[in-house]
C-alpha cells in the first residue's frame, strides 16, 4: 500500500518539476553581467604601455609581444584564470572580459588573444567526424584537477545540459572510449596512469584538455610536481580554457570539434543587426521553413522576415 502512495507522489512531483533541458545550442545562452567569458584586447587603447595588467596577473597569462615596431599585448587563455584582475587594473579599458562563452581551440597557440577575435576550434577531419560525429564516448581522467573542472563535466550530465542528447557520453573504461578528456596539470604521480589510459583507448582517438591546469599548469604553474599540462604527455586535439570552464563552454567546444554547430548560429554572438537582437536561425528548423514559405506565399522576399 505504502508503495502505491509513494509512486503517486513521485509522479506528481515529476509534473511539478517540468521540462528543464536548455535549448542550447538552438538558443543563445544568457550569462549574468559579471560572468567573465572570452577576453578581448584592444591594442589601440593600450597606448600608454603602463604594463599594470602584467603585474597583477597571477599566471603570467599577459605578455608583451616582441614586435619591435609596435608594442602588442597578448593574453594567453590557456593560462588565464579569468579572474578579471587585468581588466580591473587597466586604466584605458584595453582588456575586456565579454559574456561570450566560446573559448575552445584546436591549437595551443590559437588561445593567444591579441584583438577582439579568437580562432575557435574547427571540426575533426572527415573520416574522424564520420566515426565520432554522432556518437562520442569519452573517458575522463583527473590528473591533479581540483575537482572544479570535474564537477563541471559531471554537470554536463544533468538534465539542464543533458550531454547524452548529442550522443556524447562518459564511459567507465578507456577501452570503451573514443578519447580522453583530461583535467589537472598531470601530476608526476598520475603520469603513468594517464599514459596507460591513453594507450588503452583504441585508435583513432582524440584527447581533450579541460581547464587552465590541463593546458598550462594554471595556478600551479610554478610547481615542479607536475608536467604543466596534458600536452606534455599526449597529443591534444581540443583545448578548453577556464578555471573551470562553464559547462556550456565545454559543450560548445565538443560540438565544434564534432562539426555539430551550424556556422549560422555563430552570427548571433555579436549584437544582432536584426530586430530584437535575435536572428531567425535560433528558431527551430520547422518553424523557420513554415515562416519562409508563408512569406513567400505572401509574395515578399525572404529578407523581410527579419525586419
Amino acid at each position: 500500500m505504502i508503495y502505491e502512495t509513494a509512486m503517486i507522489e513521485i509522479i506528481k512531483n515529476r509534473f511539478k518539476q517540468g521540462y528543464r533541458t536548455s535549448n542550447f545550442p538552438k538558443e543563445n545562452p544568457e550569462f549574468p553581467e559579471r560572468f567573465r567569458g572570452r577576453p578581448e584586447v584592444n591594442q589601440d587603447l593600450c597606448a600608454s604601455g603602463c604594463a599594470d595588467c602584467l603585474s597583477v596577473c597571477p599566471t603570467q597569462a599577459l605578455q608583451e609581444g616582441h614586435n619591435p615596431e609596435k608594442k602588442t599585448l597578448s593574453l594567453d587563455m590557456g593560462r588565464c584564470l579569468f579572474c578579471g584582475e587585468c581588466a580591473k587594473s587597466c586604466p584605458e579599458g584595453a582588456i575586456v572580459f565579454t559574456c561570450n562563452h566560446r573559448l575552445a581551440a584546436n591549437q595551443r597557440e590559437d588561445l593567444l588573444i591579441q584583438s577582439q577575435e579568437a580562432k575557435l576550434a574547427t571540426s575533426l577531419k572527415e573520416e574522424m567526424r564520420r566515426l565520432f560525429g554522432r556518437s562520442l564516448k569519452l573517458r575522463q581522467v583527473s590528473a591533479g584537477g581540483c575537482s572544479a573542472c570535474e564537477a563541471e563535466l559531471t554537470a554536463l550530465n544533468n538534465v539542464v545540459f543533458d550531454l547524452g542528447r548529442f550522443g556524447i557520453q562518459f564511459v567507465a573504461s578507456p577501452r570503451h572510449a573514443d578519447g580522453l578528456i583530461i583535467t589537472g596539470p598531470v601530476t608526476n604521480h598520475m603520469k603513468e596512469a594517464l599514459q596507460l589510459a591513453y594507450q588503452a583507448v583504441p585508435a583513432p582517438k582524440i584527447v581533450i584538455a579541460i581547464g587552465a591546469c590541463a593546458i598550462s599548469g594554471g595556478p600551479f604553474m610554478d610547481s615542479k610536481e607536475h608536467l604543466g599540462g596534458a600536452a606534455a604527455l599526449v597529443p591534444v586535439d581540443l583545448f578548453i580554457p577556464g578555471c573551470p570552464p562553464h559547462p556550456l563552454t565545454i559543450l560548445d567546444g565538443l560540438l565544434r570539434l564534432l562539426g555539430r554547430l551550424e556556422e549560422k548560429i555563430e552570427t548571433i554572438i555579436s549584437p544582432s543587426p536584426l530586430a530584437g537582437g535575435r536572428s531567425i536561425t535560433s528558431f527551430p528548423k520547422m518553424l523557420r521553413h513554415a515562416l519562409a514559405s508563408r512569406v513567400k506565399a505572401e509574395g515578399k522576399g525572404e529578407g523581410s522576415i527579419n525586419s
Binding site: R36, L81, V141, S142, C146, A148, C149, N158, K224
Partner: protein, 489 residues
C-alpha cells in the same frame, strides 16, 4: 590543570608571536597533548615547527570546542620520539606526514607508510591471507568522473574485511607554492579543492589577514558568509543527488542535480564564476551584492527552498530509500571520537562540532546557524544532515540578504608582522578547513600548512565499509564525498 600553563592560547583567526608558544622537551610535549586530549580537546593540527630549518621540532594546535579556544605548544628539535598514535589515534596521519616530510621518526607508529609523496605501488599494503580471502584493487583511475586514488580491499566473498586507501596522486605541491608566493596566493588557495574554493580561499585570507592585523568590515564578512553558505548548499544538494544516483533512485538524482545548479548560478551571478573563484580578496571581497541582485537572489532562494523541501520529502519519504541508507556504512560514536572526525561526518556520528558554532568569526558571531546532530553514523545520517543543514543555510541566507550590513568592501593591507603565527578555521561544507601561516624575522611567509577536513576523515571511509559488501562501497564513499586534492595538496 598545570599542563595548561604550558600552552599558548589564541582564538580562531588570531595570530601570536612565535616566541609566545612554549617550547618544551618532547616527552612533556607528548604528555601535555595526551592530557589535553583526555579532557576533551581535539587535535586540530600536529605539524613540523620551525621555518624549514633542521633539526625541527613539532607544533600542535588543540581545539577546545566547548570554549572556543585554541591551544598551541611546541617541542624542542627532535630526530625521533615515542609515537602518539597508539594513545591518540587521531594523530596517526599527522605523524605519518611529519615522518614523510622531515624524517623525524614516531617510534612504534603502527602504520608508518608514505602519505602522498610516493606512488602507491611503491608502498606496502596490509594483506590478509587465508582460504577464500581475495584482494580487490581499484584505482587510481576510477569508473566515474572523480579524482584519482587507490583503494585496496581484503575480502571474504562479498564481505569486506579491510580497506586500505592510498592517496597522493593529486600531489601538486600547494603548501610550498603558498609559502613561496604570497602575492598571487589566493588563486592557488581557491584551487586547493575546487568544490571548497570559498572555504579554502577564506581560510587563506584570514590566515594572512591575521599576520598583518587586517580587519575586514562586517559587510565583507557578511558577503563572505553568504558565499560560503551558497557553496555549502550547492555541494550538500549535489551530494544528495549523487547518493540518489548511487542507489538507483533516478528522479531524485535528476531533481537534486538540477537544483544544485541554482546555487552555482547564484555564485556566478555574484562573482562571475560558478565556484565563487575571484570573489575573495585579501581584506574583504571583490564584489558587492547590489539591491537588485539581492532581490533576484532572494527570489531564487525562495523557490529553491520550496523545491528542496518537495524533493527531499519525496526522497526521504520513500521506504526503499530509507532501507538502503540505514545501517549502511556505520561509523560509531566511539570511532568518530577516536579518529577525531570533523564536519558533517562527525555530526552524523553524534559529535556536535561546527566551527561556525564553536569558534565563530565574522558574521557568525552575530548570526547563529543552528547545528544539526544525528547519532546513527550511517549513510542515512550523513544524507539527512545534508538535507537539514541545507535548510538552515537557506534560512541564514535569506536573513542576511535581507539586512546586509553597511561598510567597506575591502580594507587596505599592510606588511606581515614579524615572527608571528596565525591559525584560521572555516567550516567548509565537509568540515573544518584549517590554515596555519608563519612569518619570519623579515616579515615574509616562512611556513604554511593546510589541513582539509578530508585529512581527518579519510580513515572513516575505510572503517565504514568493514563487514559491509563491496557493492556498498560506492555509496559509503559518496556519503562522505571527501576530497583527494585537499588531502594530497
Amino acid at each position: 590543570m598545570s599542563s595548561l600553563s604550558r600552552f599558548a592560547l589564541i582564538r580562531n583567526g588570531e595570530s601570536l608571536k612565535v616566541s609566545q608558544i612554549p617550547e618544551v622537551p618532547i616527552s612533556d610535549f607528548r604528555s601535555d597533548i595526551l592530557k589535553m586530549a583526555s579532557s576533551g580537546k581535539r587535535l586540530c593540527a600536529l605539524i613540523l615547527n620551525g621555518n624549514g630549518k633542521k633539526p625541527a621540532g613539532l607544533l600542535s594546535v588543540l581545539a577546545d570546542d566547548a570554549a572556543g579556544k585554541l591551544y598551541l605548544n611546541s617541542s624542542e628539535p627532535v630526530s625521533s620520539y615515542q609515537a602518539l598514535t597508539l594513545d591518540l589515534p587521531q594523530a596517526h596521519l599527522f605523524e605519518r606526514e611529519i615522518y614523510e616530510n622531515s624524517g623525524i621518526t614516531p617510534e612504534e607508529h603502527p602504520w608508518l607508510k608514505p602519505v602522498r609523496q610516493k606512488p602507491a605501488d611503491e608502498t606496502v599494503f596490509f594483506k590478509e591471507e587465508g582460504e577464500e580471502i581475495h584482494e580487490v584493487a581499484v584505482g587510481p583511475i576510477h569508473a566515474g568522473i572523480i579524482e584519482p586514488g587507490h583503494f585496496r580491499f581484503q575480502c571474504h566473498g562479498e564481505t569486506i574485511h579491510h580497506l586500505e586507501i592510498q592517496l597522493g596522486y593529486q600531489y601538486r605541491g600547494a603548501e610550498k607554492l603558498l609559502r613561496d608566493s604570497t602575492r598571487f596566493s589566493l588563486s592557488i588557495a581557491e584551487s586547493i579543492c575546487g568544490d571548497s574554493a570559498i572555504a579554502h580561499g577564506w581560510a587563506h585570507c584570514r590566515a594572512l589577514e591575521a599576520l598583518q592585523r587586517m580587519n575586514p568590515s562586517l559587510k565583507a564578512e557578511a558577503l563572505r558568509a553568504i558565499l560560503l553558505e551558497t557553496e555549502r548548499l550547492a555541494n550538500h544538494i549535489g551530494d544528495l543527488g549523487a547518493i540518489s544516483n548511487d542507489i538507483g533512485y533516478l528522479p531524485a538524482s535528476a531533481y537534486f542535480g538540477r537544483l544544485r545548479g541554482d546555487f552555482l548560478n547564484i555564485l556566478m551571478l555574484i562573482s562571475g564564476n560558478r565556484y565563487g573563484k575571484g570573489f575573495l580578496k585579501l581584506g574583504g571581497a571583490a564584489f558587492d551584492i547590489p539591491p537588485q541582485m539581492r532581490s533576484q537572489t532572494l527570489e531564487t532562494l525562495g523557490r529553491a527552498k520550496r523545491h528542496l523541501k518537495e524533493i527531499g520529502e519525496m526522497f526521504f519519504g520513500e521506504p526503499s530509500v530509507i532501507s538502503r541508507l540505514e545501517e549502511t556504512g556505520v561509523i560509531s560514536q566511539k570511532v568518530c571520537a577516536d579518529l577525531g572526525l570533523v564536519g558533517l561526518a562527525a555530526r552524523a556520528s553524534g559529535k556536535d562540532i561546527d566551527v561556525r558554532q564553536d569558534h565563530p568569526h565574522g558574521l557568525f558571531r552575530f548570526r547563529y546557524i543552528p547545528t544539526v546532530k544525528l547519532t546513527t553514523g550511517d549513510v542515512f545520517a550523513r544524507a539527512m544532515i545534508r538535507f537539514l543543514e541545507s535548510q538552515r543555510s537557506l534560512d541564514f541566507l535569506s536573513a542576511v540578504l535581507d539586512s546586509l550590513p553597511e561598510g567597506d568592501l575591502a580594507v587596505p593591507g599592510g606588511k606581515f608582522l614579524e615572527e608571528r603565527l596565525s591559525v584560521s578555521l572555516i567550516e567548509g561544507w565537509r568540515g573544518e578547513v584549517c590554515h596555519i601561516a608563519i612569518s619570519d624575522s623579515e616579515g615574509k611567509l616562512s611556513g604554511y600548512k593546510i589541513i582539509d577536513p578530508s585529512f581527518h576523515n579519510w580513515m572513516a571511509v575505510a572503517l565504514s565499509v568493514r563487514q559491509g559488501e563491496i557493492s556498498d562501497f560506492p555509496l559509503c564513499n559518496k556519503s562522505f564525498n571527501l576530497s583527494y586534492a585537499g588531502h594530497d595538496l
